[in-house]
Symmetry: C2
Subunit: 467 residues, 2 copies
């Protein structure tokens, strides 16, 4: 949405009352920081049980905050997952998914539609300074870039770090850790709408993203702000700076995660140094599960089945931590359901606004969970793959209509759906469909009602780039 229209419209759309959770001393709504990893698996943090990846800063964040053990993304791949987080809506509602191309590519002409109210737009309308840092992947044409979608500034790469692959060994001095070494990734690094480096030096990119976030926090400590820090790692190809290379017993993947973890520590420290920790909520999660076909360059979903690209749990349940000293009870662990779409709604509410009333928003307000005062309003999860509902979770039950790996062609359309009790059987090993026809029936009704109300715009992912 063009910036010129934004402020006026937002006042209509998102309300104008005082912030509901404003700091009583300053009448200032809380800052929001979202750190979004790329292809990090459910099992890839120390506090989520990884044996050799060390994440002292994220472990500290969990020890001082809340760990979500049943937290989901809106899709098992990049573009639709990011669209869900930033719009609070299932990707199918914005056209940000497709059955033909799973994500946007450098030859795509589509992107996040103007009519969507991004989280940045909603918070900007409430007076927030907003920054996007890192991977965007919601359209690389100018009108789709962050600075045209509610962000005051942008520093990052416009799509995945494995795109723009070209022959040759790349510029001198650049470490390339993924075979074949006869190609490299000519991904551009952008500032706002300009390319400032190409190929982006990915060996220092994580460090630079974290530093940019810290700098933004320091510069905006006096007003409410929103930082969306979307690391483009540990998506392959993997890169780490000299400072982290070779430091993890887990190898290069561990080095990369440790560098992201280090940046989280810097952000928490910056918030503390600025004296705004108690007025800032920090979220950490990942866009989808681990990319499994790449040997030890891919992560781990822990005890969950499968990974990225799949609607098995490993594809869509993410290691999630929320930190807000003084508001979120320290050291808490919740099994309540949550979703990145709920981060949208919760953030808008925390800012004193409301989500757009003229459309379906799928996010719910997680404030009762965050404060430890009540259950999650979320009772269900829809597992879309492209434009189809492959599975649905209702309470502890998950019903699979179609199953497919994220990387093997093993699609099965189940005549009788599979049913798993996810809280008893998080690894989805023991199908109990025959004992629970009532679950299948309730799920069918729920999905039918959802599909009836669904308005599905044309897919943005199928629009080719005009030459």
């Amino acid at each position: 949405m063009p910036r010129s229209l934004l402020a006026a419209l937002m006042l209509l759309v998102v309300g104008s009352g005082p912030a509901e959770s404003a700091d009583p001393k300053t009448d200032r709504p809380p800052n929001v920081v979202i750190v979004f990893a790329d292809d990090l698996g459910y099992g890839d943090l120390g506090c989520f049980g990884h044996p050799t990846i060390r994440t002292p800063n994220l472990d500290r964040m969990a020890a001082e905050g809340m760990r979500f053990t049943q937290f989901y993304v809106g899709a098992s791949v990049c573009t639709p997952s990011r669209a869900a987080l930033l719009t609070g809506r299932l990707p199918i509602r914005s056209g940000m998914c497709s059955d033909k191309r799973r994500v946007l590519f450098p030859n795509s002409g589509g992107g996040i539609p103007e009519r969507e109210v991004t989280l940045a737009e909603a918070l900007k309308a409430r007076g927030y300074a907003t920054a996007a840092i890192g991977k965007w992947h919601l359209g690389h044409l100018p009108r789709f870039l962050p600075t045209n979608n509610g962000f005051d500034s942008y520093f990052g790469i416009p799509y995945s770090n494995d795109m723009d692959r070209v022959g040759g060994k790349g510029p001198k001095g650049r470490a390339v850790f993924w075979e074949p070494k006869t190609e490299y990734w000519n991904v551009p690094l952008m500032r706002d709408t300009k390319i400032v480096e190409r190929p982006a030096d990915q060996t220092t990119i994580t460090k630079r993203y974290s530093e940019a976030a810290v700098e933004f926090i320091e510069e905006n400590a006096e007003k409410p702000f929103f930082v969306y820090l979307a690391h483009n790692l540990p998506h392959i190809p993997l890169f780490a700076s000299d400072e982290f290379l070779g430091t993890s017993p887990r190898g290069l993947y561990g080095d990369v995660v440790q560098e992201i973890d280090h940046g989280v520590g810097q952000i928490l420290e910056a918030l503390e140094e600025q004296g705004i920790a108690e007025n800032t909520i920090v979220w950490f999660t990942s866009d989808n599960g681990p990319w499994l076909p790449f040997g030890t360059h891919g992560g781990s979903a822990g005890l969950l089945r499968e990974g990225k690209g799949s609607t098995w749990e490993g594809g869509m349940r993410e290691p999630t931590i929320a930190w807000w000293p003084g508001t979120i009870p320290a050291g808490s662990v919740t099994t309540e359901l949550g979703s990145t779409m709920d981060v949208y709604t919760t953030s808008v509410k925390l800012a004193g606004g409301d989500v757009p009333a003229d459309r379906i928003v799928d996010g719910v307000d997680l404030r009762p969970v965050l404060t430890g005062k009540g259950p999650s309003p979320r009772k269900s999860v829809l597992y879309y793959r492209g434009t189809r509902v492959f599975a649905v979770r209702m309470g502890p039950w998950k019903v699979h209509y179609v199953t497919e790996s994220g990387y093997r062609r093993d699609r099965v359309e189940h005549e009788t759906p599979l049913v798993f009790h996810l809280e008893h059987d998080p690894s989805e090993k023991h199908d109990v469909a025959k004992d629970h026809p009532e679950v299948i029936e309730a799920a069918a009704k729920f999905v039918a009602e959802h599909r009836e109300k669904l308005v599905q715009p044309p897919s943005q992912l199928e629009i080719p780039l005009k030459k």
Copy 2:
């Protein structure tokens, strides 16, 4: 070993100097408490990443102590694993393993040999009060029972809770949670060498074990003591007391783990109330991995492969926590290698003694790891199945000669061994044998040297009960 000879002999065997880590204020060596779960998997605790099993007390123990992420048992099934812990030696050295019967049964006539110096005997020789509570499984004939092996007292069941299966529905009021419900487990509950209840009421057994441990701690707070609390759950069949039944989102298995967790909390509190927490080391671990063929009644090895009975990591790597306020750095996580056999050696050293010098003891002294002052002296792990070395770990590398599930007959004898880098690839997915012939060579040499020095007594597990 008969009690009469014990004290005299122990002075010769285990030394008589002052305790090396004695409390300087009291010149008193630290108390040792070992809580040993049965068939609990690597992934079954909150602090090891389980999404729906709540273990606030064990999580607290980890937050105040040290979590070991690469800690092993001496065998992947019950009897030999327990023998390893209590002798500090590989089960093959004591004859406590076999290729014909994997554990002792009610119709077995063998048990832990007299010449073995149990941890209880070694600590008793250093003046410790000693108690065995829970499952024994090192021989049920009188001469093999705990009170003839260094323990002042015993309260528990002599073998697994699924043995002595008989027809019928069992005494009234006993909850039986495992099909078929036309049989029950007539396992005796013993006090010292006498049967005091048969069948043991397993619904209250976990609670009674924890209470017995607390009582012993309270009664012995003035002298050094050793408590070996070996819960017989969550081995199937599962039982929970009314207080815990139905409380876990994980279902019955979670209820059972939560009841064990609750008991750990009671023990830590008792130590604090008695003012002896800073002079007590508490260990928590499990005898082997989860028993996988029993649906949701079995546990989870998290991201590790396979479970109980197998020499894949899921069979022998256990969720381990050590707690010793003031000595073990709070909130520490170590990837250093450890083993239950090292608990033996470390405990004997802490008591100011030394391990028997007339035989090979496999345990190493973990004090450098516990104090955060140095690496583990353990650099290797032997994965025995029965009397054969199925695999060996050297540093981060694991070499498999034979692989087999714990419950499927899928044995493969590998002409070229499989090689995994466990710190990069904890799930043992990516065989790198072809790139690392030097690892295969070094492992072969190591195993050959081990086998050359091995003295293998006849198996105790093959001795039938005389009628």
